[in-house]
């Protein structure tokens, strides 16, 4: 994956996360059931976007690091 693609994808993920944890993106998911791991649905939904960002940022870091190593050599 190119550096540019990785950066664009990361920004898209962050923008989507912001959209889906606030109005109006959260409205369809602002409900209690089904409980996920015992938590109300909307709480698990928000936590899911937070947890997902770890993987997205990790993926971005792998691409960025490969790019930086390429520059050095």
């Amino acid at each position: 994956m190119s550096l540019r693609t990785a950066r664009v994808l990361t920004c898209i993920y962050l923008a989507l996360a912001m959209f889906f944890v606030t109005w109006p993106g959260l409205v369809p998911f602002a409900r209690i059931e089904p409980l996920v791991l015992g938590l109300p649905f909307s709480m698990a939904w928000i936590a899911g976007w937070i947890a997902g960002s770890v993987f997205v940022l990790y993926g971005l870091d792998r691409v960025e690091r490969r790019h930086r190593d390429g520059e050095d050599s």
Binding site: A30, L35, L37, G38, L39, I50, L60
Partner: protein
């Protein structure tokens, strides 16, 4: 022995241990100006992770978080939503600010902004805004510490004395050891907070309701309105989507503009450690889940604390936990308060001296250090005075501060990423944005869609910054080259 005595002994031992770590850390640092830099250079990923987590999450998260879940239900989810979003852009901004800092010798974000947009008034304005935002934030930490101590000693140590004790210790080690103490005590306190939040947050629902699922099933039966975002207001009315969404937005924008957090970019020498801290930060953020569970466990519990901010100490006292366990939990809450409070006190003094006073008079190194120490005392005393006001909710105190601090985002971002921005544009935007948010803070009934005054400030701030910048001449190529090459 009575329970409150045992608890007090444990809390006392915890405070003594913190003080010892703080003072020992100071003995390792050579002098107080470069000590912080040296400390951060030696910080590996794990230490950096806990330092960042502990300084972001404070009494606000540890006491205010459960308080909101308990009294306002799903409204508390806003606290969960913003942290990771606010931190993520720092993956790029952090190393870039660090590179500029190394090149030009910056140690505060105002120096970065003023380096690009030379103006003493701008520097003084940023220092003033930072201080205005710092005071409620420190007030909140001090009040949090007092609340915990008053609750667990069953009122034998009132808020005024408890907060005086805890912050007397903080001020002592910040004065004696400077920032090295902040770094090392935060690591210790960060570990403490995470362990305690997770164990208590999973244990309380289990003990009272037989598990997390049965707890929420019972709340669904009794108070379903609580669990649907945007939750409730402090008086139990439904909260507005406008307020809920803009609270998230303003907190995400403001998070990394806090001088005590942004300055980590200048002190962490290793960019990779900084980037990995950003990547891992959301995992720390998830500790808010058990923190909310603590608050929710109180919803159906008979009786209640005098104020929602007391819910965490109230629950652990009322559920008949052994005194030793109660003591450890209280130490965890104190950790949250003190680990942020020390960083705030230290940063506020540095900012006022570096960006405010230093711009207008020449001080030598020794005078600067003396002035910083006096300021730590004065700021601490001012915040302590406000902390005695029983009317203030912890979360609202902080949300107010975020409105001010988020106005620093456009100048900082323009300084690093927008070549066409001009000094006049930045200054005009900052003044207009600040005036707008102050206006709506004072006239909350006029807010369109119940939006947070900080966002309303930004809505005015950004167009003014753009318009005035385009109306004034571009900065010279030579000047810009230093920032964009």
């Amino acid at each position: 022995m009575e329970q409150w005595v045992v608890v007090s002994i444990i809390v006392g031992a915890y405070l003594a241990l913190t003080l010892t770590i703080g003072l020992l850390a100071g003995r390792k640092s050579s002098d107080s100006v470069t000590g912080y830099v040296a400390a951060d250079r030696s910080f590996g990923l794990l230490v950096m992770y806990f330092v960042t987590g502990a300084s972001v999450f404070s009494a606000f998260a540890f006491l205010g978080g459960p308080g909101w879940a308990y009294s306002r239900g799903a409204a508390a989810f806003y606290i969960l939503a913003y942290g990771a979003l606010g931190m993520a852009p720092f993956y790029w901004i952090g190393p870039r600010a660090a590179a500029l800092g190394r090149k030009f010798g910056y140690v505060t974000q105002a120096q970065l902004v003023v380096g690009r947009f030379p103006s003493r008034s701008l520097s003084a304005l940023i220092a003033t805004l930072s201080l205005i935002a710092f005071i409620p934030y420190i007030t909140l930490q001090i009040r949090g510490a007092g609340i915990v101590i008053e609750a667990v000693t069953e009122g034998h140590v009132p808020i005024w004395l408890g907060s005086l004790l805890a912050y007397g210790i903080v001020i002592f080690y910040v004065l004696a050891s400077g920032a090295m103490a902040v770094g090392w005590t935060n690591t210790f306190q960060g570990v403490f907070m995470v362990v305690i939040a997770w164990s208590l947050g999973l244990y309380l629902p289990y003990r009272l309701y037989g598990g997390v699922t049965p707890m929420f099933e019972q709340i669904i039966d009794a108070r379903p309105d609580m669990l649907i975002p945007p939750g409730l207001t402090a008086t139990g009315e439904p909260w507005s989507w406008g307020a809920y969404s803009t609270f998230i937005l303003v907190s995400a924008v403001g998070l990394m503009m806090w001088p005590h957090l942004f300055m980590k970019a200048f002190t962490a020498k290793d960019d990779d450690t900084m980037r990995r801290t950003v990547i891992l930060f959301p995992t720390f953020q998830l500790f808010l889940i058990p923190v909310f569970l603590i608050g929710f466990s109180g919803v159906l519990f008979s009786g209640g604390p005098p104020s929602a901010d007391f819910i965490l100490p109230y629950m652990i006292l009322e559920t008949g936990l052994p005194a030793v366990v109660v003591g450890l939990f209280c130490a965890g809450a104190l950790s949250a308060s003190m680990s942020t409070g020390d960083a705030l006190l230290h940063a506020s003094a540095s900012v006022v001296v570096e960006d405010g006073v230093n711009q207008f008079m020449q001080l030598d190194d020794r005078q600067q250090r003396l002035l910083m120490r006096i300021l730590v005392l004065v700021t601490g005393a001012t915040a302590y005075y406000f902390a005695q006001d029983a009317e203030s909710s912890l979360v609202l105190l902080l949300a107010t501060a975020y409105g001010v601090i988020s106005q620093l985002a456009p100048p900082v971002i323009s300084a690093m990423y927008w070549r066409r921005a001009t000094t006049n544009g930045v200054l005009a935007g900052l003044l207009a944005g600040t005036a707008t948010s102050v206006f709506f803070y004072l006239n909350p009934d006029l807010k369109p869609f119940d939006m947070h005054e900080g966002i309303l400030g930004l809505i005015v701030h950004i167009p003014v910054l753009l318009a005035v910048s385009f109306m004034t001449p571009t900065q010279s190529e030579k000047h810009l080259e230093g920032f964009f090459s």
